[in-house]
């Protein structure tokens, strides 16, 4: 299958990731959304790597994305738990101390 197809898939995945963040009221969906976006990026990296000369860069980059995504997820979870502790609710709308 051509590069265009992989890009289409990653674009769709990226869009769904954004929707997940924006639409759902639960903080966890933000986490999921982020992971989807990162995956979309990875698909792109590998696809372009594959279709443009096949060097190591694309894949190495994807590997580092995966590593950092892991670290990020850990920290994000810790933050979520704290937010939950502070606001006693999962909805991001409650955490509006930044209003004024």
């Amino acid at each position: 299958m051509g590069l265009g197809a992989y890009i289409a898939v990653s674009a769709a995945l990226f869009a769904l990731g954004i929707v997940a963040i924006l639409v759902r009221r639960n903080i966890l969906y933000v986490l999921m959304g982020i992971e989807m976006i990162l995956n979309a990026a990875n698909i792109n990296f590998v696809a372009f790597n594959r279709f443009n000369g096949g060097g190591l860069e694309g894949r190495m980059f994807a590997i580092f994305v995966i590593i950092l995504a892991a670290a990020e997820a850990a920290v994000a979870l810790a933050i979520v738990l704290n937010v939950f502790h502070l606001f006693n609710s999962v909805k991001p709308a409650e955490a509006d101390l930044l209003r004024e």
Partner: protein, 838 residues
């Protein structure tokens, strides 16, 4: 041309009287510089010198006078030897004084102004007159001014004046003549204003403050005319030197005549008239004579020297120097003005009661004579009359001064009378001078005045007829008659009959006493007292002096010197002051003879005045035959040829030449005419004033009553002063000077015009500037208001706007994170779309 002397001719070179350029120019420069040096020393150390430095200056003047006499003798000697006596220090001795540029070369093409000494017969005669007269005045004022405040300043000013007059006579170009001309104007200002710094002199004090300015401004008008005349001639001839000017103007006239015969270049006429304007100003001719009568506010020696002999003669001297530059039209104007002034002043002279006023008006009249003479072509006659007049008028003034001095500062003739008994020497000198001025034969006045009238009649009979010469031929004899009348009227009023002090209220003496009474200030008392102090000179020693002075001319210089020493000794003797009692002018003290130095000066001048005319006559015997025209010494040395050089002289002489027949007949008309006129004048004077005071008052009263209107006009000096707005009003009653009198400037209305102009300047021009300023301010205020409403409004408007946006924006800051993310995403998308689309 010169009749030989009949004596064996002396070899010209070796003789002491021969003019040799090497030393003589230096001597002339010395004579000229001495008074200046004296002035500088006197100004700085005057007060500290013994006798306040008067001896220093007088001896300085003595040296100057002797040099001038020596130089004059040389000119006479050269005349008798037929040599041409015209010496120029630049050409002969290389003595130049470069004025504008340091040397001629730098001025490439632009004429450099440089000066040198020019010495010719006219200059020699004038120099001798100035030297002798100023020496006598110095001598006289030692006695007269003794004890007055600022005594040393007076002497300094007189000697600086002499310096200026000598400079004027010696200068070789018109510009330097003008320089000394104006310096003389300054000195006359300072000297007339001498009493303005001495309040104790009462009437004189108030009168002098205004008179000095009036004198300076009137002469200043004349000076400006002379300056313009000079500029006109410089514009055409590019030079100021007399010799050049004469030559060029003669050539110009000749060239002009060649083009259109009979006519004269207009610009030369205009230039000539302007130069004559200078003479009118300085020699007090008709319109600008107003300052001379008021110049009597100065001390009498000043009047004697400046306003009788030297300064006023400078104007006539200028005419003599510029004669070749005048076209016939100018000459006729000069003659007309001269004659008019002569008659005009003579009439006023008859009505004057102040002794110095009589002499002032007579001076103006005699100057009119001289000017008329030059106008008629008789330069020689005019100059000769100037020389003789200088002597006897100076003598008249000094003797008048001595009379005033004697009568305790009384100037009004009606308060005098019978003074001959108390002041014999003064009377003798005054009588001699009066006879001379009246024109009685054997006295110098006769010869010079006769020459002028002769000149007038020669013009008429010789076919050179012009309105002016006719007016002169008729007018001058009348003036001569009036002169004789008022001079002898003065003699009879002051010297005959009994001494009658206080017959009439006169501001002079009366106030000298009152004034110092009121003066609260101590030192004034001393000064006023000083006045009375010197009056006390014991008459005793007058007799001694009387016998002492001899008639021998040569001896008088040495003798004069001796007398001065004698006087110093008398000064020390403080005799009791017989009229010490203040005020109470009725039991008035008798007049007393003046101290010796004054008398010596009088006698010298009287001698020169009387015999100046003809003593050195070619042939004295011939002069006795007065009915024939006697060639006086002056005519020998001064003639057109000797003055302006042979070729110019011949042309000028030719211009006024008259055939022998006309000359002879004119002589037979002029001589008897002047004799009869003089005797008629004297007779009338004797009839009215000669026989006792009461009778004279009666007769005079009847006459004045009959021609009342005319008498009032003449007495009011034809109201010339009032017309020009320059009358000097001295109100002794008023203590405070009027804060602002309009009568001070030369032309009264000019002050009003000045005030108008300064009002305009303040309210019109300044107003426009302020208007601009105020309109600027108004525009400023307007723009400020505009700024506040509109611009400021805009600013606040913008503020309002941002506030609304702010509140709208606040809605977005809901704190909901997801909302932010949505905005971010959609913002990014919009940006991407926009970037890609473009």
């Amino acid at each position: 041309m010169i009749a030989d002397l009949g004596t064996q001719p002396m070899t010209p070179e070796s003789h002491i009287l021969a003019f040799d350029p090497g030393t003589d120019f230096k001597l002339l420069f010395l004579a000229f510089a001495l008074p200046l040096v004296g002035y500088v020393i006197q100004i700085f150390f005057g007060k500290k010198l013994p006798r306040q430095g008067d001896w220093l200056l007088t001896s300085g003047l003595f040296v100057t006078a002797s040099i001038t006499v020596l130089m004059f003798a040389k000119s006479l000697w050269a005349a008798y030897h037929g040599e041409e006596f015209r010496h120029h220090s630049g050409d002969e001795a290389g003595l130049w004084f470069h004025w504008f540029y340091s040397s001629d070369t730098v001025a490439n093409g632009v004429s450099n102004v440089s000066a040198a000494i020019y010495y010719d017969p006219l200059g020699a005669a004038m120099l001798m007159v100035v030297g002798v007269v100023s020496f006598c005045v110095h001598l006289f004022s030692i006695g007269y001014m003794h004890g007055t405040p600022r005594y040393h300043i007076f002497f300094a000013n007189i000697s600086l004046f002499t310096f200026a007059m000598l400079g004027l006579v010696l200068s070789d170009n018109l510009l330097f003549l003008f320089v000394f001309w104006e310096v003389m104007g300054l000195m006359s200002y300072l000297l007339i204003g001498h009493f303005s710094h001495d309040p104790s002199s009462g009437y004189f004090h108030k009168w002098a403050t205004k008179a000095c300015k009036k004198a300076f401004l009137t002469t200043r008008v004349g000076d400006t005319c002379l300056l313009v005349g000079m500029v006109i001639f410089f514009w055409k001839f590019e030079t100021f030197r007399f010799t050049e000017l004469w030559r060029l103007s003669i050539e110009e006239i000749a060239r002009h005549q060649a083009l259109h015969p009979g006519e004269y270049p207009l610009w030369m006429t205009v230039g000539g008239l302007f130069i004559f304007g200078g003479t009118i100003g300085k020699s007090a001719q008709f319109p600008l004579h107003i300052w001379l009568p008021d110049a009597m506010a100065g001390p009498t020696p000043v009047s004697a020297m400046i306003h009788a002999a030297t300064m006023v003669a400078a104007g006539v001297f200028l005419l003599g120097r510029c004669y070749p530059m005048f076209t016939p039209d100018v000459l006729s104007v000069i003659a007309a003005v001269g004659t008019l002034t002569a008659i005009f002043a003579a009439t006023i002279g008859t009505t004057a009661n102040d002794i110095k006023a009589v002499l002032a008006w007579s001076t103006i009249s005699q100057l009119g004579f001289m000017v008329a003479a030059v106008g008629l072509g008789g330069v020689v006659a005019g100059m000769f009359h100037m020389v003789t007049h200088a002597f006897f008028k100076a003598c008249l003034f000094l003797s008048a001064g001595s009379v005033i001095h004697g009568c305790h500062h009384e100037q009004d003739m009606r308060n005098m009378g019978g003074v001959r008994k108390y002041m014999p020497v003064t009377f003798a000198c005054m009588l001699a001078s009066t006879i001379a001025i009246a024109g009685i034969p054997f006295f110098s006045g006769f010869y010079s005045k006769d020459l002028i009238i002769l000149r007038a009649w020669e013009n008429i009979l010789g076919g050179k007829f012009s309105g002016a010469s006719f007016f002169a031929a008729v007018g001058l004899p009348i003036a001569a008659c009036l002169t004789a009348f008022y001079m002898f009227r003065m003699i009879f009023m002051t010297f005959t009959d009994k001494y009658r002090p206080g017959t009439v209220e006169s501001p002079f003496a009366h106030h000298a006493h009152d004034d110092h009474g009121q003066d609260e200030h101590a030192d004034h008392g001393h000064a006023a007292h000083g006045h009375d102090d010197h009056g006390h000179h014991a008459p005793a020693h007058a007799a001694v002096a009387h016998a002492g002075h001899g008639h021998d001319a040569h001896g008088h210089d040495a003798h004069g010197h001796g007398a001065k020493g004698h006087d110093a000794h008398a000064h020390a003797a403080k005799a009791h002051d017989d009229h010490g009692a203040h005020g109470g002018h009725d039991e008035h003290a008798k007049p007393h003879e003046s101290p010796l130095p004054m008398l010596v000066a009088l006698c010298i001048l009287a001698f020169c005045g009387v015999f100046g005319g003809h003593f050195w006559l070619a042939d004295p015997v011939h002069s006795l035959k007065f009915w024939e025209h006697a060639h006086t010494w002056f005519e020998e040395s001064v003639s057109f040829q000797s003055l302006y050089g042979a070729e110019i002289g011949d042309k000028l002489a030719a211009a006024i030449a008259v055939d022998h027949h006309a000359e002879h007949s004119a002589h037979w008309v002029a001589l008897p005419l002047s004799l009869t006129v003089a005797s008629v004048g004297i007779l009338i004077a004797w009839l009215i004033y000669g026989r006792g005071w009461e009778r004279s008052q009666r007769i005079a009263g009847k006459i004045t009553h009959s021609i009342h209107a005319i008498y009032e006009v003449v007495k009011g000096k034809y109201f010339v002063d009032e017309v020009l707005g320059t009358t000097i009003v001295v109100d002794m009653k008023r203590k405070e000077e009027p804060r602002y009198e309009p009568d001070i400037s030369v032309i009264g209305l000019s002050v009003h015009f000045a005030n108008l102009l300064s009002w305009i300047d303040r309210n019109v021009i300044d107003a426009t500037v302020n208007l601009v300023g105020r309109s600027g301010a108004a525009v400023g205020k307007g723009s400020a208001a505009f700024d506040r409403t509109v611009v400021d409004g805009a600013v606040t408007g913008v503020g309002l706007l941002t506030q609304t946006f702010g509140s709208v924006a606040r809605l977005f800051q809901s704190g909901r994170v997801q909302q932010y993310a949505t905005f971010a995403v959609f913002g990014g998308l919009a940006l991407a779309a926009w970037l890609i689309l473009l």
